[in-house]
Symmetry: none
Subunit: 471 residues, 2 copies
């Protein structure tokens, strides 16, 4: 018995479809039964036959009924939907979800791992998504596996950009589109020597890289960093080292730039020790005073640099896209070991980013970011100018954060708590040191990617209030 509700927002044909479907699912209509003819049902309900046909064709399309010539629509066998089995309650052993505490008292979050929403090119992303979906359909690629190294259209455009901005020089066959730096590192671990299993990392360094090395059974040793970046002279001459992971253009987190003489020394060291350099170039295009420093890859003459990049800093960390460039000597191994692999990056997203680069919108976007970040940094510096004898600020005019170091000996924890009491979240630098004791007390990490320019004066005022005992 079908009842129609003309006040409902559901169209009539959907109401008919839903009611018949439910009768099939709950067994009222059984396999083999024939539905009332559409002309007949239309008459009974006092509606157009087209409406009933619409409902029936949906039922046919979804496989609830099948049309048979001269008979009508026959109900099909439909799988029972619920598999109800009581499972033993084991919830006790499930750790609770790690929730990020969202203190309502946090007014300003000085993180560098998310952006104010206005920095995402939403309008363009929408436009190109719609456009590229049509294009993918036309190219019959919408439902296909793709090249495991990523879409050639993206690689070509990205390479031209990197050549221009970062001096990167390579063949598009050397490039792999990945889901970000960590995945690039994970791939790298599988390509590095299976016998030399030590990687050198900067101290302090990027803790998220450390986790990947450990999970791939690679042990990590540290090398110190000074105001000219990685202290290359301290690199060990060891036969067990397969690579050094470094951030030459913007040391993370100190902000130091690896000097040109050290760059050549580092390349020389890698060549001599038969090791690779994992060059993490995560935000070097966001350099707003001088032109970006050419990448290490651009001066590598002995094929020892594995170049890593990401769109997390320029587009959004939520799009999960990065890239790596392999030196030619690793390509053969890659093609062998990853022969059966699929790309991990959605093809549509690759098209959208390629389109952004191809149209020049990406360049424009990066310029806009540089302008915005420069303004934000300068505002912080101006607001903090009167306490510069009490705190030292490290920034090389790149990226989206700076370090703050108190001349007084004061615990990070205390400073963080005090700031939080005044509504500002600032971050410890402890996580970047593997040797925790070596981390300077009173050194904090302040990001400005998620704070609007006009909020900075109030934010700094709160920080000064919070820290007045040490300023």
């Amino acid at each position: 018995m079908i009842t129609l509700n003309r006040q409902s927002s559901d169209p009539l044909y959907m109401q008919i479809y839903t009611q018949i479907k439910n009768e099939i699912l709950n067994g009222t209509l059984k396999e083999g039964q024939v539905l009332t003819g559409s002309r007949g049902l239309a008459g009974i309900l006092g509606i157009s036959r087209n409406t009933v046909d619409g409902a029936y064709s949906q039922l046919v399309a979804e496989g609830y009924v099948t049309p048979r010539k001269g008979v009508g629509c026959i109900v099909m066998k439909v799988p029972e939907l619920t598999v109800s089995r009581k499972r033993l309650k084991k919830d006790a052993t499930i750790p609770p979800a790690p929730t990020i505490k969202k203190e309502s008292s946090v007014i300003y979050d000085l993180t560098n791992s998310s952006h104010t929403s206005d920095l995402f090119p939403k309008r363009l992303w929408k436009r190109y998504t719609v456009e590229c979906l049509d294009r993918l359909e036309k190219e019959t690629k919408i439902s296909s596996y793709q090249d495991k190294q990523g879409e050639l259209y993206l690689r070509k455009n990205l390479l031209a950009y990197l050549e221009r901005i970062r001096g990167v020089h390579c063949d598009e066959n050397q490039m792999i589109i990945t889901s970000g730096i960590q995945q690039s590192l994970d791939h790298s671990c599988k390509l590095l020597s299976p016998t030399q299993r030590t990687v050198l990392m900067e101290e302090p360094g990027f803790h998220k890289a450390l986790a990947v090395f450990h999970n791939n059974g690679i042990s990590v040793q540290t090398v110190s960093v000074d105001e000219s970046g990685l202290v290359v002279s301290k690199l060990p001459q060891s036969s067990n080292v397969c690579a050094v992971y470094a951030t030459p253009s913007h040391q993370f987190p100190t902000g130091a730039t690896l000097s040109v003489s050290r760059r050549y020394e580092l390349l020389e060291w890698a060549h001599k020790n038969n090791a690779f350099i994992l060059e993490d170039d995560f935000d070097s295009e966001l350099r707003y005073y001088s032109k970006p420093i050419p990448s290490l890859q651009s001066i590598d003459r002995s094929d020892c640099v594995i170049y890593l990049g990401t769109f997390s800093k320029t587009l959004s960390p939520s799009i999960r896209m990065g890239y790596m460039i392999l030196p030619p000597q690793l390509l053969k191994g890659y093609l062998e070991k990853f022969e059966e692999y699929n790309s991990t990056v959605p093809l549509l997203n690759q098209y959208v980013v390629a389109r952004l680069i191809e149209t020049g919108q990406y360049d424009r976007h990066v310029r806009r970011l540089n302008h915005i970040f420069r303004k934000r940094l300068e505002c912080f510096l101006a607001e903090l100018a009167d306490v510069r004898d009490k705190v030292e600020i490290s920034s090389n005019g790149t990226g989206q954060y700076f370090l703050l170091r108190f001349s007084q000996n004061v615990e990070q924890k205390k400073l963080i708590e005090k700031a939080l009491e005044h509504g500002v979240r600032v971050y410890s630098t402890m996580q970047f040191w593997q040797e925790k004791a070596a981390c300077p007390p009173g050194m904090l990490f302040l990001g400005f990617s998620k704070i609007a320019l006009e909020d900075i004066p109030d934010c700094v005022k709160r920080l000064k209030d919070a820290w007045k005992a040490w300023l």
Copy 2:
């Protein structure tokens, strides 16, 4: 001697920077020398002092010179370049891009790894992308890192779906959204015992899983498969086995369904041997005659199943999205080892899929696929009916392919070549056997995800012509 070219597209400060840099690199300017003061140089060149300062600060940033108060910019030590600045031509070592041969003669491609474009819900994908972009902006998530396990909104909806369709039962904290089966396996490898490093695989089995185990330093042993699926009685009682990778609901590629008694035996074996079962449930919802068989996970009482699924078969292989469900006993290890990891799946895409599921569109879509695939399979069976005494067809009414086995002893290679001559690409089954000699001759893999229903009669006609010597 600096010369400026005002017709050049390079800005003046860049021209100055480049020329001084080159003088340092070629030794004209030596360590310790002081650059002409910026005011002086500006006067000589007849340009603004700001322009010269721009060039100098770039040289400082890159470490070619260092400023000293009251003295000026001093040239730093730069290593002599022993290797020529000309990059060694290594192009010979770059393997050419692996191109997929696109014979113009291929009229029908019987692959199972891509779909006809009409099977992708393009209209809905567009609509929900636009909608979810606005929603992500409103929720200020558009430019943020996300939960490393994937968006909770997707996990909740997906879980409700899997509970209904696959009998899966778990807490949403056990679920991880991944970039597909291979990434789920890669994660799993990092969670399995670091000392027991052997995984058992079905023979024949999914070759793309094999590559992941090998790349994680795990050795693989095979266990045979018969018409009731994995021969559980042949599983070794070995202390070195950490897991068995299996496809219980739709053995890949034989199509066998693991019988209920073997399911319980397999769980028992895993429990006794302290091993895990990697249940790859890649296409079990595409089961079009009977109701889907409940997953192994749904009857696992001892927490030994790692459940793996994918959207590649139902939505598109190009969206790169899958999921894994960890048993509670692996959760603590996961949270520790992956604490510093980011999700690899774009947040926007996760929202779109969540929305598809939440609205019931995904259910409708899967039903539609089942209907279409059933029609296609039935058409193949009908068209091949008259040669069924010469060829055996394996399919359990699930998924998007069947196996064809000739009763005559004939080489796969020969059959494939002949088919290609007649415009049809069919596939070898050799890749699924680790012991190649064990692969039956005359057994082919025919997918029907990329062929339209109306093309099947002509396609089969061509195959019959191609193979008339053996039919």
